[in-house]
Amino acid sequence: MKKEDVPQDGNNMHEGSFKQLFYATDNAGQYVPVTSVGWEPENVAMQQAWEEINERVQQARARVLAGEISPVAYYMEKTIMDLPLLASYVGKFQWQVKRHMKPAVFNKLGDSMLRKYAAAFKITVQELQNIK
């Protein structure tokens, strides 16, 4: 890649200020470091990943409001975790966390368990129990 060809496709995800560094060749074929504000394919892929996440969050939210799943499932999506990761944060087995995603089970959870989930999601217990 030549120095002039280093892409400069900015997008709002970099928040304008963030540049990454590449190695590219100058006219004599010598490698030099060059900064870039972004590249279209990467931006597309990144945006897509976030669209997918946002969609899953919205779906989970709708299902919580419909009483199908507990807020644990919603916040798991919202914090981009998956089941194994969440289970390790709250120190439970995956099947236990899965159970806690049932509204009936969630409603009977004790304070200490609720606090563990709240800590993992970095929210308060109130926020955990009442999703926005």
């Binding site: 890649m1 995800m13 970099h14 928040e15 963030f18 540049k19 990454q20 560094l21 590449f22 190695y23 590219a24 060749t25 074929g29 010598q30 490698y31 470091p33 900064t35 590249w39 279209e40 394919p41 990467e42 597309v44 892929a45 990144m46 897509q48 990943a49 976030w50 997918e52 981009i80 975790m81 998956d82 194994p84 990761l85 390790s88 944060y89």
Partner: protein, 341 residues
């Protein structure tokens, strides 16, 4: 030693932005002790270039692809090859880990830290996924906050103790467990010649000789074959996500797959000067062209992602492009392994 302490009391740490976190930390931290090593040189001596596709290791349901060796390996290899003694520790609790960090910082030593980008507040939000193998340097403390030189950022920054503890003790795979590392003995004079030879030998072996289909040049073909059938195997929607992940791993900040090809080409160029081997310059130019092929692949993959019209033809074409990358890299590493160094 006194001199170092004097410098550090002013928390002087020369931060240079680099392309990748691990080779960047090596370059920045070794320079602090007077061992000048460029990022590409660290990457090359550490044999950082690699390829692996692991369909059974899924991150958020998407199969993993890597363009580099496992986190930590570059650092370990470079230190060993240059004769730098490293102290490295992990911790059972955040409290112990933070206290140990403070103690080393008080001695005036900059410290490399393993962390999860999800908990680093200075990262652009769009990049904050649960990626647990990010490396950064803490070089001091000021007003309760830690002074941070994150190699992929343009400038030094600060972080509050709570966020840093969260980042260092993130859960998941691989769990960083507060890992910290710092040089305790850096040789005054270092010759790069033998470390370069060892690094090249290892890179060739990793790219060509691992007897498993997922790794090295074989891994590229492995991915190419699977990629072709993504739409019919997992459906259009997931196929696009899988493809998107390949691009992100290739181009995203600090993971740069094609970026790694260019970085390795920069290494070969530097090595050619040190070892006085013109063949290495030629191979550097050849790898630059391969890097461009990778970028063409990413560019086309990006288009398929964007259009979302996942027709099988486009996936077939992308698969062929990957096969082309594999063929070119195989030729390159075979030539490289035959250069008399």
């Amino acid at each position: 030693m006194d001199e170092v302490l004097e410098v550090m009391s002013d928390t002087q740490f020369h931060h240079a932005q680099t392309a990748h976190c691990e080779s960047g930390v090596i370059s920045n931290i070794f320079r602090h002790y007077g061992l000048e090593i460029s990022e590409p040189m660290a990457f090359g001596i550490g044999a950082g270039i690699f390829f692996g596709h692991l369909p059974f290791v899924k991150v958020n349901g998407v199969p993993g692809t890597t363009y580099r060796v496992v986190p930590g390996a570059i650092f370990k290899r470079v230190s060993k090859r240059l004769g730098v003694k490293i102290a490295s520790q992990s911790f059972s609790s955040p409290q112990k880990g933070m206290e140990a960090l403070d103690r080393v910082l008080e001695q005036g030593r900059p410290v490399g830290l393993l962390s999860s980008v999800y908990y680093l507040p200075y990262f652009p939000p769009a990049y904050r996924f649960h990626f647990n193998a990010h490396n950064l340097v803490a070089y001091g403390k000021e007003g309760g906050n830690y002074l941070i030189s994150d190699p992929i950022m343009e400038h030094v920054t600060e972080i509050d103790p709570k966020s840093l503890a969260e980042a260092r003790f993130a859960k998941g795979f691989p769990a960083p467990k507060g890992k910290m590392y710092y040089p305790v003995d850096v040789p005054k004079e270092v010759s790069f010649a033998q470390p370069i030879r060892d690094g090249i030998k290892q890179a060739c072996s990793d790219m060509l000789n691992i007897p498993l289909p997922m790794f090295g040049v074989k891994g590229m073909r492995f991915l190419a074959k699977r990629l072709k059938y993504y739409p019919e195997k997992v459906g259009d929607r997931k196929a696009v996500l899988y493809l998107g992940n390949i691009i992100r791993m290739q181009e995203e900040i600090g993971t740069g797959g094609a970026g790694f090809r260019f970085m390795y080409a920069a290494f070969l160029q530097e090595a050619a000067g040190i070892l006085r081997r013109d063949e290495l310059s030629e191979l550097s130019a050849e790898l630059t062209r391969i890097g461009d092929t990778w970028r063409t692949f990413a560019f086309n993959a990006g288009r398929v992602c964007k259009s979302r019209s996942a027709n099988n033809v486009s996936y077939g074409e992308l698969s062929e492009m990957l096969m082309q990358c594999a063929a070119e890299e195989e030729v390159l590493f075979r030539k490289l392994s035959k250069v008399k160094l």
